[in-house]
């Protein structure tokens, strides 16, 4: 399972970097979104995968008995997802404004307008 996830994460990172390097504003945004997905999956995988274990220990037990899932990575990922939701929403609004300013999807136009000022 780790191998499959590792490949998926690799593909996600690669596509994110590819999209970030494009000149299109929209592709930049999609790249940023993919980057955060890849990161979340990485946290999930790196902190250990376990199948079917409950994330809690029974009240009687004093030590870990049997397989148990670590609840912390999920909490971290949840936090990261919420943060990336906010950031991506902001980036969308910003790029809509940029589009209105330069009326183009081309990021290279950004530098042109700046120099011609």
């Amino acid at each position: 399972m780790e191998i499959i996830l590792a490949i998926v994460i690799g593909i996600l990172y690669a596509s994110a970097v590819y999209l970030l390097l494009r000149r299109s504003l929209v592709k930049l945004l999609i790249g940023l979104a993919l980057l955060s997905h890849a990161t979340n999956l990485l946290i999930f995988t790196a902190s250990g995968l376990s199948l079917g274990g409950p994330p809690v220990i029974s009240p009687e037990a004093t030590t870990l008995t049997g397989p148990a899932a670590d609840p912390l990575p999920q909490a971290l990922i949840l936090t990261a997802i919420v943060i990336s939701l906010g950031v991506i929403a902001f980036a969308l609004a910003l790029s809509a404004r940029v589009y209105r300013v330069i009326s183009s999807d081309d990021l290279d136009r950004l530098n042109l307008t700046e120099e011609s000022e």
């Binding site: 990485l42 943060i83 902001f90 910003l94």
Partner: protein
């Protein structure tokens, strides 16, 4: 100290309560803008003053009683979030409180009504909340969250308004910071997988055990490199600084002053914290890398500044070169050099913020930031000229101003470990800094105003009441610069103690573990 750690939480509570109060004012008085504006200004001024008092109280507490720790929510240490204030954190908090207060005064005079109506003040306090949180937290993931709090508000502060250059500057800033956050988070995930803890003190201990395992070396170095890149982007070190000059010169002066003063320094803080506590330099390749980074950052920053003609662009490039000095203190990794870095950060934040405030006033008086379009400001505003000269000469490191002692201790640190070429670069850069400052002085203050030839002699700008709010924060910060320069004998020992705590983190670790009992 009480068990509740009230003083430790105050630097976070004050800004968030101020922001909430401001937002309430904004939401309730939606239809009555002038009243809402007055209320906002009042709330924010009270908040900024209380924050300054709170951080000073915390600093005294830390100075007298040692490292302060509180477990938020009473969850014991490796599981819950820990807030830790050692001397370094406390010094950084004092800087943040001071800058928060001074820039707020300046904003009262210079921020336009549209920005105030959209909620400039609450956003400003959320920014301070993020900065203070990053300085206080003892938990790696929590550091990420505070970074994001800070970034989100800085994004909005930067993008507010309709200026074209500002929009373009923000897209670079947003993208670069999102990438840096993603790298930081990936590093965190790998780190958690490696040692299973997020508490910084716990990490330091567990790392000691893992480092003995030769198989883990590759992963440890990879994670450390990722932290270096993530924080390096935020701190704007070579070669990751290119976003900074474009973004920092665009927003209104009050916003760019607080960005210039505080935001990159949070990155430097994180670098120093991580590379003293979790991955102590001295072993591994990172010391050499950081030494190179320091030298090249200093050099490229100052050379970039030489080519610029706009006041705030020149100053933005100087931020980069100054970051190099701080990284140099970290990279030399001797008690003297780290103390020098701590002193340097304090001096730099005060001076650089002040210079941005002065630049804002110059742009307003001359109606342009381009040095070839303004002039004769010395004749028109002698007080502003003096207020420019103090931080400018301090930035270049002329004795007896604060910059001299900061640079002196770094150079001594460099000589002590035979890093002569780095010392040479530092001296050369400080010479070029003086050249840049002289350029602003000659072209902005002494050269006759080019407009004069067309319109005749301009009127001297009188100091009316509304200018008082512009001058007050500059005078305050200039006085601080003079105080830490002339009183270096009193202030430097504090930096030395802070450096001692950083280079030998056992006190930090012990304090965190003791509080969990």
């Amino acid at each position: 100290m009480s068990q509740s750690g009230f003083l430790l939480i105050a630097p976070l509570l004050v800004p968030i309560l101020t922001a909430i109060a401001g937002l309430f004012g904004l939401a309730i008085l939606e239809r009555d803008l002038p009243a809402s504006r007055r209320l906002q200004r009042l709330i924010a001024t009270v908040g900024a003053s209380v924050l300054l008092v709170a951080v000073l109280a915390l600093f005294l507490q830390v100075r007298v009683n040692g490292i302060q720790v509180v477990q938020v929510g009473s969850w014991p240490m490796p599981f819950g979030i820990t807030l830790v204030a050692d001397l370094f954190s406390a010094i950084m908090l004092v800087v943040s409180g001071l800058i928060g207060f001074a820039v707020h005064l300046y904003a009262l005079a210079s921020i336009n009504k549209e920005r105030e109506a959209i909620g400039y003040y609450p956003l400003y306090f959320v920014l301070l909340l993020g900065v203070n949180g990053a300085f206080l937290t003892g938990d790696m993931f929590n550091l990420y969250v505070w970074f994001e709090v800070m970034l989100m508000s800085s994004f909005v502060l930067m993008a507010l308004g309709t200026d074209k250059g500002q929009t373009i500057g923000s897209i670079k800033y947003v993208t670069l910071n999102l990438i840096s956050s993603a790298i930081f988070l990936s590093a965190l995930g790998l780190l958690y997988g490696l040692i299973g803890t997020l508490n910084m003190a716990d990490m330091a201990v567990k790392f000691g055990e893992v480092r003995a395992d030769p198989e883990a070396t590759g992963l440890i170095n990879a994670v450390a490199a990722m932290f270096l890149i993530a924080f390096g982007i935020k701190a704007a070190v070579f070669p990751l600084f290119f976003w900074l000059p474009d973004s920092y010169y665009a927003p209104p002066p009050a916003v760019s002053a607080v960005f210039a003063g505080l935001l990159t320094k949070v990155g430097v803080y994180a670098l120093i914290r991580v590379f003293t506590l979790i991955f102590p330099l001295g072993s591994g390749p990172f010391q050499t890398i950081l030494l190179w980074v320091a030298g090249l950052t200093m050099l490229t920053g100052v050379l970039g500044a030489v080519a610029q003609n706009e006041v705030r662009r020149i100053l933005s490039f100087h931020i980069i070169s100054q970051i190099g000095y701080m990284i140099m203190g970290l990279a030399l990794f001797t008690p003297l050099a780290i103390s020098g870095a701590v002193f340097y950060i304090f001096h730099h934040v005060v001076v650089k913020t002040n210079l941005f405030l002065v630049a804002g006033a110059m742009e307003r008086a001359g109606k342009s930031g381009d040095l070839y379009k303004i002039g004769s400001l010395y004749k028109r505003m002698p007080l502003l000229a003096v207020l420019f000269l103090i931080p400018a000469l301090s930035l270049a490191g002329l004795p007896p101003l604060s910059g001299f002692f900061a640079k002196l201790s770094l150079l001594q640190g460099g000589f002590a470990v035979d890093q002569f070429w780095l010392v040479g670069v530092a001296l050369f850069v400080s010479f070029l800094t003086l050249f840049s400052m002289t350029k602003i002085w000659n072209l902005g203050f002494w050269k006759p105003d080019p407009a004069e030839e067309v319109e005749g002699q301009p009127e001297p700008v009188s100091i009316k009441t509304r200018w008082a709010a512009w001058y007050l924060p500059m005078i305050l910060l200039a006085l601080v610069t003079l105080a830490i320069g002339f009183g270096a004998g009193q202030f430097f020992p504090i930096a030395v103690d802070a450096g001692q705590q950083l280079i030998d983190p056992s006190g930090y670790i012990e304090a965190v573990f003791r509080s969990a009992e």
